[in-house]
């Protein structure tokens, strides 16, 4: 797999793009983000997925559901396209252009999110993704690593089990026929895990005492959870207080993670260095987000949200915002620098 950028800088790109997709409700801007994500995937990504999902087919299904559902159930809006008899349950009434546009916009948000995450999946390899796990979650990281590394072998094992069973005349016809396949698969996996555990111990796993959670850290975790929940609930009525509580909760959790992380150290075999182009990617990813969230002179934030109700009109489009959003496609260009 060609390494274009550091997985961390890709993650910044992902977060910025995903947040933008979630806060923008203007179809024109969403299409720019969607295209940017597709361009990034085509130019930087590598398809290593084991299951191929057709992006456009899935998108078509989402679009169809969303448009139909809105059109048939939401009878709000002034541009009437068609009328169904009033006595039909739920769907009866006027079908409006506004509901259609609203449904299509909602679908566009989901489709864009899908494209953004598909791009991220294809540009960051599985092992790099696992390496991003915080140090406090060392044990969880090891479990995930074992699972991912043993999947190919388990697939082979599954193949062997199925061959052995079909030699004996076994065919999968109903649910009950899964038994001779799944049970040996589970038992075989557990047998191997006994061997693996012995190997791990022989190589010194668990030789240093592993530290459980202390009372202080548990208190921090609990306080963090209570703060974020409280902040989230309060933010409906008092946004400022809500955000303060949310940030306080986040800080508690961060401290807990950092303190717990001190107990485990990790050495890396293949270091991936942070390069100049990673800085470039981070800056170019955060720029559109900053422009969308913070007030800037000459930029009107109102073009970000768009609602067709009550009377459909063309969405506003600010060329500067459009250009800045197109920067999200930058990885495709600067990867080759």
């Amino acid at each position: 797999m060609k390494r274009t950028f550091n997985a961390r800088s890709w993650t910044v790109w992902l977060l910025s793009t995903a947040v933008l997709t979630l806060i923008i409700r203007n179809p024109l801007y969403l299409i720019i983000i969607l295209l940017a994500a597709r361009i990034v995937q085509k130019s930087c990504g590598e398809d290593e997925r084991m299951i191929k999902i057709s992006f456009w087919r899935l998108s078509a299904v989402i679009l169809l559901f969303s448009v139909l559902f809105n059109l048939l159930l939401v009878h709000v809006g002034q541009t009437v396209l068609f009328r169904l008899p009033q006595n039909m349950w739920l769907v009866g009434g006027s079908l409006t252009l506004e509901a259609l546009i609203y449904g299509a916009t909602s679908a566009l948000i989901l489709i864009t999110l899908l494209a953004v995450f598909m791009a991220y999946n294809s540009v960051v390899s599985t092992s790099d993704l696992i390496a991003l796990a915080p140090r406090a979650l060392a044990n969880v990281g090891i479990v995930v690593l074992i699972a991912v590394s043993y999947v190919p072998e388990t697939l082979n094992h599954l193949q062997r089990v199925r061959e052995a069973q079909s030699l004996r005349g076994h065919k999968v016809r109903g649910m009950r026929d899964w038994q001779p396949i799944i049970i040996p698969l589970l038992v075989g996996g557990l047998e191997r895990s006994m061997n693996l555990a012995e190997t791990m111990v022989a190589r010194g796993y668990g030789a240093t005492s592993s530290v459980g959670l202390s009372t202080a850290i548990r208190l921090l975790l609990l306080a963090g959870l209570v703060f974020v929940l409280g902040g989230w609930l309060v933010s409906f009525q008092y946004p400022l207080l809500g955000w303060v509580l949310l940030l306080a909760g986040g800080a508690c959790l961060l401290i807990a993670y950092l303190r717990q992380g001190r107990h485990s150290s990790r050495t890396r075999y293949a270091q991936v260095h942070w390069q100049a182009q990673d800085w470039l990617l981070v800056i170019l990813s955060l720029l559109p987000l900053a422009l969308a969230l913070l007030p800037f002179p000459g930029l009107n934030g109102s073009s970000l949200s768009y609602t067709p109700y009550p009377l459909a009109a063309l969405p506003e489009f600010e060329p500067l915002m459009g250009i800045v959003l197109a920067l999200l496609a930058a990885p495709a260009v600067i990867a080759d620098l």
Binding site: N139, A147, L158, M175, I182, I183, R218, L221, G224, Q260
Partner: protein
């Protein structure tokens, strides 16, 4: 003290889970009407994902204490690998739509090895199979949370010695979770697709629930029923042998050399 803290952490995380999953239904009542039409709702939606991710981060840190022995780590990894493979079968072997064979192993592992093991098994199976299928997305925290609770609640089931009773209990449990899982996961994308919030503000909570009901019946009821029935049948077919196999290993895993 430690025990009280642990159970409080779990209690708060349950509250957060309920609040987040029910949020599309309660939020129209909570938000001032004028705001829902703008970007306000979507920001809140983004916030719920952050909230859920943080909660999963806390729960993973809390339960990973379970996986300190090499045997448990290795067993968990292997079981997750085997279960993730079953998720491939879901695509490779055409079965009834909506059916997924991954829930039965999660339930059985939770039942045999306990609630914490079950939570890790469920949440991490979702995570690993998402990594492998390229399915990492904003829906992942919701899947991890829901599947984690499948395993966790399975660990809270009473230990039953009577084989028939055990099978009935596990099969009913698998059936119920088959439906619940769909109900919960729908709540994640339903507000995107249905434009329900506009409705909710105009017509109140009753209309929102009705809207969700229609959405559920038209898009996912059949799907969920096949999943639930599939779970039931699969559990009936291999629940007992799988429980027996895992129980045999449980005794071997808990074997420790006593300090002299």
């Amino acid at each position: 003290m430690q025990k009280v803290l642990t159970s409080s952490i779990f209690a708060v995380s349950i509250l957060i889970g309920i609040a987040v999953f029910l949020f599309p239904i309660i939020v129209p009542a909570a938000l001032p009407a004028a705001d829902t039409l703008g970007g306000e709702f979507q920001q809140t939606q983004a916030l719920t994902m952050v909230l859920l991710t943080l909660t999963i981060a806390v729960l993973l840190l809390e339960v990973q204490g379970q996986a300190t022995s090499a045997k448990m780590v290795a067993a968990l990894g292997m079981l997750i690998a085997a279960t993730s493979i079953l998720r491939f079968l879901e695509v490779a072997i055409p079965g009834p739509g909506g059916f997924s064979p991954i829930f039965v192993p999660i339930i059985i592992a939770g039942y045999v090895f306990g609630a914490r093991f079950g939570f890790m098994m469920g949440a991490l199976t979702m995570f690993v199979s998402a990594l492998l299928t390229g399915g990492v997305g904003p829906w992942l925290p919701y899947q991890m949370f829901a599947a984690g609770w499948v395993g966790l609640t399975a660990g809270l089931l009473p230990q039953v010695n009577n084989q028939t009773l055990l099978l009935i209990m596990l099969a009913t449990f698998a059936f119920i979770w088959g439906i619940l899982y769909g109900l919960i996961m729908n709540l994640y994308y339903w507000p995107f697709l249905s434009g329900s919030l506009e409705l909710g503000v105009a017509q109140g909570i009753g209309a929102t629930i009705e809207n969700y009901g229609v959405f559920y019946l038209t898009t996912s009821f059949v799907w969920d029923m096949t999943r639930a029935t599939g779970n039931l049948v699969l559990m009936l077919a291999l629940g007992l042998p799988a429980v027996r196999a895992l129980e045999r290993f449980r005794d071997r895993f808990q074997f420790q050399v006593a300090a002299p």
